[in-house]
Symmetry: C2
Subunit: 404 residues, 2 copies
């Protein structure tokens, strides 16, 4: 059984396809089932038999954004939940479970793995890393991040050229990117810069407490120097007290506050304090779904961490998450693994040593780290001028695929 | 002399390259100069000699976003301005002026053309249409629109799949697109829809007075039917009194109010009235600069309207804007022309006949009109994982290029 969890990435389906590919390398493996919409699909017996997919279907799924199986933010509430899950596994004769997700999901996988072990149920549970946030511990980087970084950098490059090329009142641009607690996505904007005067000029990350006065001073200095200012901000900026600079009241099922609006806030700061007209672009979910602009490196790595999870299960290893290990010389990542308990609910922050002294930009160390992750392009098939993506329905509602 | 004006499009440089190509077909034509940052470049003698560009430079310029020569929103203030402009033309021996822009620019071009004629100055002035807004009269569509439409439709397709594929609290998405007075850009989102249940579900255009209560009712109906709602809104929505639903106080040099924030406003309406958590993506300047995703049809047409402007000037025609004329059967546009006075300051609204009865979506007529405009892809050269765009500086600061 494979399930997808949390916010999709542009390459999340590559991990499903990697798992499916490797699963069929083992002749005795039987069918591979997909849980539709994550854990809740298992509990509701909402499943698809992925083994009946033909090669063409798999390829289309591989080159489509969103979670092809459907995803959810289902939080395992208590022991009752886990017991019900294991009963379902028993009923459908599932002995291997692959969970593609971020740190919350690795915590869930760890809980399931430990419970099964202590109750003598024959089940391997292994995690496959996935998050545009790039905040999982013990892996060089996370599949999904490279493509989001490439999309952000390309967008900054294009909108930066646009900003430089027109004299109008809007000479300050704020780009709001995702990143609830970490600045990895905001930092990616720096990949677009070649010369000192190029956008972006200022990058604000959640790792550095945000100070309104310093911000206004920063923008003023850049604007006076270059006549324009391109500002990138993480949605999750916090002040010196650790409180979100801009937050709304609602929370998701993990208790995370839903953020948004930092870009507009900074735009208003600029307009009010400096009297310069500013504009704000908010990337939102575009940055995690832009399959038309993925990194080929990322696509391949997402596939390989899926393959490795099946290899581990085949060796009866359990309670692990597959990882990427950078080999030092030319860029290449080997695949490895780490105990789920070591990544569960941990968070890899953007290194403070990679942030400049003023706390408003990142250093060249980040460039060296991230530049290889956005390499390589992939041509998505098109139809009538638009990408020809696999429709979620095709996987989920195809009667042939249903086992129940 | 060629100048670019107003907000750039992803393909605006193709018109410069078309003009440059055709200019050199006429052996006696002499040098072609580019005015840097529009009219103000002429007044300040900030010019570049485009005739010294080699083929490689031209190709790179052709495949780069932003206005390669620099653009501005310079508004001709009075007769003194025009006189100064003509003195400059006289001094540098300019007898042909090509102005690439939208309706404000065509008004300026018309004024210059008429003044030159009435004062016996030997000058042809011809306009080349350019605007993502698609609001110029007497042309089937405007170069720049097809690429913006393709970008918007692709984004809706990708973020729509993302929205459908995850069960979380954010099941309503608002996408804010540009469009100060017309709904052409918002309508483009509909190109992403194949089935009734696919995003987008609701499209709000400035041509239909916005009513908060109807909006909330619309979202509620869609949400109850599909479990999600994907809403697209023009930045320039107006109420029954014709007042912008959301506007800020500042104005640009043409007296247009700078808009923004409609997306967030609608998101808050949904959250407050229906208690459903919503998210808002704001495309902003990304939609006019996404060269990595242009329509090949658009690229070619932008080039051809540039070529045609030079052909007209060669025949000593003046005071015209080149146009695109759709030939009925298979899609193909011939180039034609219209008097500048007939397009100056006019605005082509989205046809009310192409909007549905409820005023919250568009009809199939639009699909037939717009679908051919987004066809064809172009592969942009890349370097280190990012597009290898021509830097504005390379054109503007290359000493070789300067004539003064």
């Amino acid at each position: 059984m494979v399930a997808q969890s949390g916010g999709p990435t542009a390459v999340i389906n590559n991990s499903v396809c990697g798992i499916l590919h490797q699963w069929h390398q083992y002749s005795a493996a039987g069918n591979l089932y997909g849980a539709l919409f994550g854990i809740s699909g298992i509990l509701k017996e909402n499943l698809a038999n992925l083994s009946v997919l033909n090669e063409k279907d798999v390829l289309r799924m591989r080159y489509s954004p969103g979670a092809a199986l459907g995803s959810s933010r289902y939080k395992i509430k208590d022991e009752g939940d886990i017991r019900k899950l294991l009963e379902q596994f028993k009923k459908i004769k599932i002995n291997h479970f692959f969970y593609i997700g971020g740190n919350d999901s690795m915590d869930s996988a760890n809980t399931i793995s430990q419970y099964a072990k202590s109750h003598g149920y024959d089940l391997t549970v292994n995690g496959v890393p996935k998050t545009i946030d790039n905040d999982l511990l013990h892996t060089d980087h996370c599949p999904g991040y490279g493509s989001a970084a490439k999309y952000i950098a390309t967008t900054v490059l294009e909108t930066g050229i646009d900003l430089k090329s027109i004299i109008s009142k809007n000479r300050v641009l704020v780009l709001e990117v995702m990143g609830r607690n970490t600045g990895w996505l905001a930092a990616a904007a720096a990949l677009a810069k070649k010369n000192d005067s190029d956008p972006p000029h200022l990058i604000y990350l959640p790792e550095v407490p945000f100070d309104k006065n310093s911000f206004i001073q920063d923008v003023d200095t850049v604007y006076k120097k270059f006549g324009i200012a391109y500002i990138v901000a993480s949605e999750g900026l916090v002040d010196r007290e650790g409180k979100y600079v801009c937050c709304e009241t609602s929370q998701d099922s993990f208790g995370h506050r839903q953020l948004g609006g930092v870009g507009n806030l900074l735009k208003n700061y600029v307009q009010d304090a400096l009297g310069i007209q500013a504009r704000c672009n908010v990337l939102g979910t575009t940055q995690r779904s832009a399959m038309h602009l993925v990194s080929k490196t990322d696509v391949d790595e997402a596939y390989r961490v899926g393959i490795e999870a099946v290899r581990l299960a085949h060796q009866d290893a359990s309670g692990l998450m597959t990882t990427l290990i950078r080999e030092k010389q030319d860029y290449y990542c080997a695949v490895g693994n780490v105990k789920l308990s070591e990544v569960a609910n941990g968070e890899k922050m953007f290194p403070l040593a990679w942030i400049n002294h003023d706390g408003n930009y990142i250093t060249n160390k980040y460039y060296e780290y991230a530049s290889p992750l956005i390499r390589g392009t992939l041509t998505v098939p098109t139809k009538n001028g638009l990408p020809d993506y696999c429709c979620l329905k095709e996987i989920q509602e195809n009667k042939q695929l249903r086992i129940l």
